[in-house]
């Protein structure tokens, strides 16, 4: 009594309805790319500066920090947790990096910053999974601790690498492959690695399962706690890299770096179409979301619009994206 209904057969039995639902499916899945394309085309047509090499290199460089944080946020949200420590981890690991640079060299300092980001992510993860507190609350509290530690370590002052190393410290702003900045290259490589990790590995499968239904995942033999800790570690590494990019640009680090940016990162993930409920989403979506939010700022500059309206537009875009997502989901049910 086996009946295998192939997609073709199903489509043949109800062609019109299948087309409608498939269209809704596509829109839901790739609508965000269409929106992105529309903005790119609009800016290309309305300005002669947008489609220049300089502007595009600049745009990607600007996206790198938010993009890295959005990737970390996406990994966490997919697994069913929020990481509100992202920007505090960014600041604290960048500060630790500069401190290490002061006693060693730039390379050791950068590696130390990334290690610090991973370690902070691990601590955040352990706090959340061991205490059993909701991640939103748990990471909010942890972020205060990290921010406070950053103030303590720096004495609330701006800290700099030694004068002799200042030039090397700015290496992430240097041009690199294809004329892109080193920061962009770091960003692209990290995105590619994490993208593959999430989409293609057994770890990625577990991540989605834990976010979609933690109890079902546990009863399928998945260690839910360690998946969550891993997600926080990945987020911590992304934060540290973003912190290095900011510090390298500024030539310094301080305790107030990127304050509030963890929320923009979550917004970017959601604008890209990652479900806030967990279990659904993708790394590329976080990137598209970050690009979109950055593009708005870029567009305001190029069009010479008054930037006081920028935040209003960004807020509207987030609302629009989330509303569309909800609407398309309901239609396709």
């Amino acid at each position: 009594m086996t009946v295998d209904v192939t997609p073709q057969a199903a489509a043949a039995s109800a062609p019109a309805s299948a087309n409608v639902s498939r269209l809704a499916f596509r829109l839901r899945d790739y609508g965000i790319l269409a929106a992105f394309a529309v903005i790119v085309i609009a800016l290309s047509v309305s300005t002669d500066t947008f489609l220049t090499r300089g502007n595009l290199v600049n745009l990607l460089d600007q996206t790198a920090v938010l993009g890295l944080l959005a990737v970390g946020a996406t990994v966490c949200i997919v697994s069913g947790v929020f990481d509100l420590t992202a920007s505090a981890t960014l600041a604290l690991s960048a500060i630790i990096g500069v401190k290490i640079v002061q006693v060693t060299n730039v390379y050791v300092g950068f590696a130390g910053a990334v290690a610090a980001g991973a370690a902070l992510g691990f601590v955040t993860g352990m706090v959340v999974t061991r205490s059993g507190v909701n991640s939103f609350v748990g990471t909010l509290a942890t972020s205060l601790v990290y921010r406070g530690l950053a103030v303590m370590v720096t004495g609330a002052a701006i800290i700099y690498p030694p004068a002799g190393l200042a030039e090397d410290f700015g290496m992430l702003t240097w041009p690199s492959l294809f004329g892109l900045t080193s920061a962009t290259i770091v960003f692209v490589v990290v995105v590619a690695v994490i993208g593959v990790l999430v989409a293609r590995t057994t770890f990625g499968r577990r991540l989605y399962a834990v976010g979609g239904n933690a109890e079902a995942a546990r009863l399928s033999g998945i260690r839910v706690g360690s998946i969550h800790v891993s997600a926080f570690v990945i987020s911590g590494i992304c934060s540290a890299l973003a912190g290095l990019i900011l510090a390298s640009r500024a030539g310094s680090a301080q305790s107030t770096m990127a304050t509030g940016m963890e929320l923009t990162a979550i917004a970017a993930a959601v604008v890209g179409g990652t479900s806030i409920l967990g279990g659904e989403g993708a790394v590329w979506r976080g990137i598209v979301g970050a690009l979109l939010l950055t593009l708005i700022g870029n567009g305001f500059n190029l069009l010479g619009w008054d930037t006081i309206y920028q935040q209003v537009l960004q807020g509207c875009l987030i609302l629009f994206a989330v509303t569309m997502d909800r609407w398309l989901r309901r239609r396709s049910r």
């Binding site: 009594m1 086996t2 009946v3 295998d4 209904v5 192939t6 997609p7 199903a10 109800a14 019109a16 309805s17 299948a18 409608v20 639902s21 809704a24 990790l197 293609r200 590995t201 057994t202 770890f203 990625g204 499968r205 577990r206 989605y208 399962a209 979609g212 239904n213 109890e215 079902a216 995942a217 546990r218 009863l219 399928s220 033999g221 998945i222 260690r223 479900s275 409920l277 279990g279 659904e280 239609r331 396709s332 049910r333």
Partner: protein, 506 residues
């Protein structure tokens, strides 16, 4: 019970149609239900009975057609019209506020008040009257989420009555109830109907629909195929209408256990919470049924065996491997598998695809380094999906788009990919249509015939007795008897209740 045809129908439905994403789930349904009638609505999963019920209850909106309450046509699918006409929907999901008390839930948003101050004492009196009417015994001050599911349903019924419901639309009200609670509920339905309340009852359990309904409507693929008096109908006839053909509703007989079959699963002194010392042994090829009332520790015993909850005391032995205070991972490594009670909450990741769900518990077996071996996975999932007959248009579609029966089969498939030695199944056919139910029965007996040791918990006593080689009866978390194949349901139910009165100390 005679239906009063002199008055306008309580509910009259004409040409109702509803589609989801272009797929029709109801087509051109006409139905009249008289005041004071108990009307049964049956059909396979996906036949459209819940959809019809929700349209009548105002929870969802129909695409076409008209609805009249008491002869008065109302606009389609507006909840306020349904409520204004005293139609109350009691759905499977439940609509209670978990953190509020029974009292607050019963009178939700309709508390007695004077000058905006809530008059709890007046509500208490009203609740006492309702409890007397229904025979329900619930503590008005208990938080609803601390009540067992059967009592939560009673709260919903009390609320409907408190709102003066004249039509009760109930979706699978007995699915979560024990035999005893079920009898009480059916008795209540009869009494309410005698007092003039109209009841629409959606249920998979044909016996109870036949026992309580005045008339029964059968839906198939969204269309009404038959409406008629219950008195002139047999279960076999209903099933034939539901599936469109006569099918064998008989249970498969399990194959005899070979005399030399070794004991594969052994548990000693399991204890935690409701479970107060359970010993059991299951041999290869044997199906052990666990019977008991709700709260007797049946589900909890299975969970302790699998390590879903950590036992306070006791050991589990699988194939010579001893497990003590183990985790699900350790249980799986020893060869156990658990098909849990609730596929939505414990079994499946509803937003993920059929293929991902089926592959989830055996991920490490198909990997290349850290990567998922996707062709290997497709082949493995495809193979097992064919052998358990999962009917999915597209294995990449989210599993929540499948019918309950196919979801349940996918849950079995997930574990069968691991070829376990011991299969623990909890309510294997809950919320599953008749055809899929029979398939799952054959699947379970087939797996046992191939040498798997099976432990099965089911609230459906006939199912349990038909499938099991032996039935272990639990009462208050302790085994009170073990019965061989061929024992009658009455004997097992008597044992589950105990010879003496309920709750008597022993």
């Amino acid at each position: 019970m005679t239906t009063r045809v002199s008055r306008a129908p309580a509910i009259s439905v004409r040409g109702i149609g509803k589609s989801y994403s272009g797929v029709p789930v109801l087509r051109d349904v006409d139905l009249d239900i008289a005041p004071g009638e108990v009307h049964g609505l049956v059909g396979e999963n996906g036949a459209g009975k819940s959809t019809l019920l929700k349209i009548v209850g105002g929870a969802i909106r129909a695409d076409q057609g008209t609805i009249s309450f008491d002869g008065e046509q109302v606009s389609i699918g507006r909840p306020r019209d349904a409520i204004a006409h005293g139609v109350s929907l009691i759905s499977q999901e439940g609509a209670l506020v978990p953190a509020l008390s029974v009292l607050d839930n019963v009178f939700l948003a309709r508390w007695s008040h004077r000058a905006s101050l809530i008059r709890g004492r007046a509500d208490r009196r009203r609740l006492d009257e309702l409890k007397e009417l229904t025979g329900f015994a619930v503590d008005p001050d208990e938080r609803v989420d601390r009540l067992p599911i059967g009592a939560q349903q009673q709260v919903e019924i009390l609320r409907s009555l408190a709102r003066g419901a004249r039509v009760l639309a109930m979706d699978e009200p007995t699915a979560v109830l024990s035999e005893h609670e079920k009898e009480n509920l059916l008795g209540l339905i009869r009494r309410l109907a005698a007092a003039g309340t109209t009841v629409i009852l959606v249920s998979h359990f044909l016996d109870e629909v036949l026992a309580v309904a005045d008339r029964i409507t059968v839906l198939r693929d969204g269309a009404l195929v038959r409406t008629g008096p219950a008195a002139e109908t047999s279960p076999r006839e209903l099933v034939a209408h539901m599936v469109g053909r006569e099918i064998d509703v008989l249970y498969p007989d399990p194959s005899p256990v070979p005399a030399e079959a070794p004991v594969v699963l052994r548990a000693r002194g399991l204890r935690r919470g409701l479970v107060r010392g359970v010993d059991l042994e299951v041999r290869a090829g044997e199906i052990l049924g666990i019977a008991g009332l709700v709260g007797s520790g049946r589900t909890e015993t299975l969970r302790l065996l699998f390590g879903a909850d950590r036992a306070a005391e006791g050991v589990v032995e699988v194939d010579g491997v001893t497990l003590h205070r183990h985790t699900p991972r350790q249980a799986m490594a020893a060869g156990m598998a658990l098909v849990p009670e609730s596929r939505k909450e414990q079994g499946l990741v509803m937003v993920r695809s059929v293929a991902e769900n089926v592959a989830l518990s055996s991920l490490p077996e198909r990997r290349v380094g850290p990567f998922v071996n996707r062709p290997g996975e497709r082949a493995a999932v495809g193979g097992i999906a064919t052998s358990v007959d999962i009917r999915a248009a597209n294995p990449a579609a989210a599993i929540e788009t499948l019918s309950g029966g196919n979801q349940q089969k996918a849950l079995f498939a997930k574990w069968l990919l691991r070829s376990p030695r011991v299969l623990l199944v909890d309510e294997p056919t809950r919320g599953v249509d008749v055809a899929a139910k029979t398939q799952i029965h054959h699947l379970i007996t087939g797996l046992a015939a191939d040498g798997m040791a099976v432990v099965c918990v089911s609230s459906e006593i006939e199912e349990l007795l038909a499938l099991s080689h032996r039935v272990l009866v639990l009462r208050h978390g302790e085994p009170v008897g073990e019965y061989p194949r061929g024992t009658t349901p009455e004997v097992v139910i008597a044992a589950a209740f105990g010879d003496d009165d309920e709750g008597a100390s022993s």
